[in-house]
């Protein structure tokens, strides 16, 4: 791009706006983590300063680790999220391919049927879902959560992925057919790699609500063995409402694993979005 489109004031302005918003986005997170390492006097006396040797205190963390079973909760959340994500992406991409690639009777009707789930929150069916899980003996298992989240994630995944799959060149697929590739090979070898950037986008939008959900763990899997980290944190925060050290430490412990996971994952995501295979 030519240098004529760039100007110093505009660049500075862009950085100023982005920096301001970055500060707004990160401030609460940093504030919570920073204060979790302080004594009670430090938290209230100088909330905006980083912990100093005088105010440094791990009392919050020792309380939390003595009380909760966060590592176990974290494992449960991870299993549920990864398994649901896998099924949503696999089944969603397959269905999106069928809808965008083939013309068959009932195609648009099927598309509309699958898109219904974008607008209807699955929560509205909770009572019947609970009855179903009780009947099939899946209450208090992670399988129940994985099934529900797979169903919840599929509609949006299919909707977004089929939009993207329509843009994959027909010539490419037909060239594959002439070379004798089966429809399955065309899907897994040709189309899937090309829609990878949009898969990354879908993965993020699917993963967030699953990881953060409070409702279904509370109703379908509230037992100690199957508690997810969100439910565990909610119950914990309810118990320690006046113990600020413990609350800040618990919040930090809930934030940090997700943050680490996100920093690792975001490189993948950004590379996916910016590689621009879909054009």
């Amino acid at each position: 791009m030519s240098t004529a489109t760039r100007s110093l004031p505009r660049t500075i302005g862009a950085h100023a706006i982005l920096l301001t918003y970055t500060a707004i986005a990160l401030f609460p997170v940093i504030l919570v983590i920073m204060n979790s390492f302080k004594s009670r006097a430090g938290i209230f006396g100088a909330p905006l300063t980083p912990p100093t040797p005088g105010t440094f205190d791990l009392i919050g963390y020792t309380t939390v680790i003595g009380q909760g079973d966060f590592i176990h909760y974290f494992q449960n959340s991870l299993v549920v999220t990864v398994a649901s994500l896998f099924f949503v992406l696999l089944f969603g991409a397959m269905a999106a391919f069928a809808l965008s690639e083939y013309r068959f009777r009932g195609n648009s009707l099927m598309g509309l049927y699958l898109a219904l789930g974008i607008m209807i929150p699955i929560r509205l069916g909770t009572v019947a879902i609970l009855q179903l899980m009780v009947a099939s003996g899946l209450v208090n298992t992670l399988t129940a959560l994985i099934l529900v989240y797979t169903a919840q994630g599929l509609p949006l995944a299919i909707f977004i992925l089929s939009e993207f799959m329509k843009q994959v060149s027909d010539d490419l697929k037909n060239a594959g057919r002439i070379d004798g590739l089966s429809e399955y090979t065309i899907f897994f070898r040709l189309v899937l790699p090309l829609v990878r950037p949009s898969m990354a986008t879908v993965a993020v939008f699917t993963m967030i609500p699953i990881w953060n959900d409070l409702w279904f763990p509370l109703i379908l899997a509230p037992s100690e063995e199957t508690k997810t980290v969100t439910l565990g944190a909610q119950l914990f925060l309810g118990q320690f409402v006046t113990n600020w050290n413990a609350i800040l430490a618990a919040l930090s412990l809930a934030i940090m694993p997700v943050l680490i996971l996100y920093v690792i994952f975001s490189r993948q995501l950004i590379r996916g979005i910016t590689s621009g295979a879909v054009k």
Binding site: A4, P28, G117, I118, M119, R123, S198, T230, I270
Partner: protein, 309 residues
């Protein structure tokens, strides 16, 4: 497609194989239970038996002051919740994406990563963290306002009836601004280079390039974001629940349809849970959301189609 030219084609099993897993899971776990819930709204539990009562539950919902006052209040609050998202979240998201996508911007990966951080946090964390920050006990918010000389503006926003809902909406905006940003950002990157170069040859650069060339091209994405926001807002629940509890205080001023449904469905304090009334409220939410989606599909999306490549 070659298969269509031939007069007799074999049954294409692969279509069924591609569709089957998604359709099966989706139908069994989502559609059937939803239909079951809608059906429940037409029944009432009389002496331990589910009795068909037609639209009687809806007559109670709109006619009985015990229910209708709460229902309209929740609907009004929910509409305000949505308006704030549309007016604040989406313009900020578009602006950030436009800035981020400008070529050769340094640190853009850092900005993108940082601004998306709140979106990955759970409602439990967001609700509690903001409750602590806005709490007059801790004093972070008044202290910050003091730095810019506006300390007199501080009140405990989450505790005042007239501000609580707006404050919570802005917290929700803070959390979710990353989603429109990422979607618009991806859309901006997918604009072909030739289009931008053609615009530059015609002397259209900078701001006018954004308004005249890029914005029309990303309108379909803005449409998608709007409808996602609408659906998300009209079944929101978690943030209000974690920050204000199921009673959506102070004095129901932050009550939205999700919390109203929860109280009706499972009961709270002295009120006994009534699955059938809950199902009736769920049905109303269903109708509202369906209406919004129909407007999008038939009015907005068909007009935006023509801008796509």
């Amino acid at each position: 497609m070659a298969a269509e030219i031939r007069p007799k084609r074999p049954f294409r099993w692969h279509i069924g194989v591609f569709l089957a897993p998604a359709v099966l899971v989706y139908t069994a776990i989502m559609i059937l239970p939803l239909a079951g819930t809608l059906q429940l709204s037409l029944f009432r539990n009389i002496e331990q038996h589910q009795v068909f009562v037609g639209l009687e539950n809806f007559r109670t919902l709109f006619g009985d002051p015990n229910w209708s006052v709460n229902f309209w209040n929740a609907l009004r609050n929910n509409t305000w919740f949505f308006i704030i998202h549309m007016l604040v979240q989406n313009p900020i998201g578009v602006m950030l994406a436009a800035l981020l996508s400008s070529p050769r911007l340094r640190f853009s990966a850092f900005y993108r990563t940082a601004i998306f951080v709140p979106t990955i946090l759970s409602f439990v964390i967001v609700g509690f963290a903001w409750k602590l920050i806005l709490s007059p006990l801790w004093g972070v918010a008044p202290h910050l306002l003091d730095l810019v000389g506006l300390k007199s503006l501080f009140t405990p926003w989450l505790g005042k009836e007239e501000y609580a809902l707006t404050a919570l909406s802005l917290i929700s905006v803070w959390q979710f601004v990353g989603i429109p940003m990422m979607l618009i950002y991806a859309a901006l990157l997918s604009i072909p280079e030739e289009v931008i170069e053609a615009a530059e040859c015609d002397g259209i650069t900078g701001m006018s390039q954004f308004w005249k060339i890029k914005l029309p091209l990303i309108l379909p994405s803005i449409g998608i974001i709007s409808i996602l926001t609408f659906v998300g807002n009209f079944n929101a629940f978690d943030l209000i629940y974690t920050a204000q509890g199921a009673l959506a205080g102070p004095n129901y001023s932050t009550d939205i349809l999700g919390t109203f449904l929860y109280r009706a469905f499972f009961g709270f304090q002295l009120q006994v849970g009534d699955p059938n009334m809950g199902a009736a409220i769920a049905t109303m939410m269903f109708v509202i959301i369906l209406g919004g989606v129909c407007v999008y599909l038939f009015l907005v999306q068909t007009r935006l189609r023509r801008y796509q490549f």
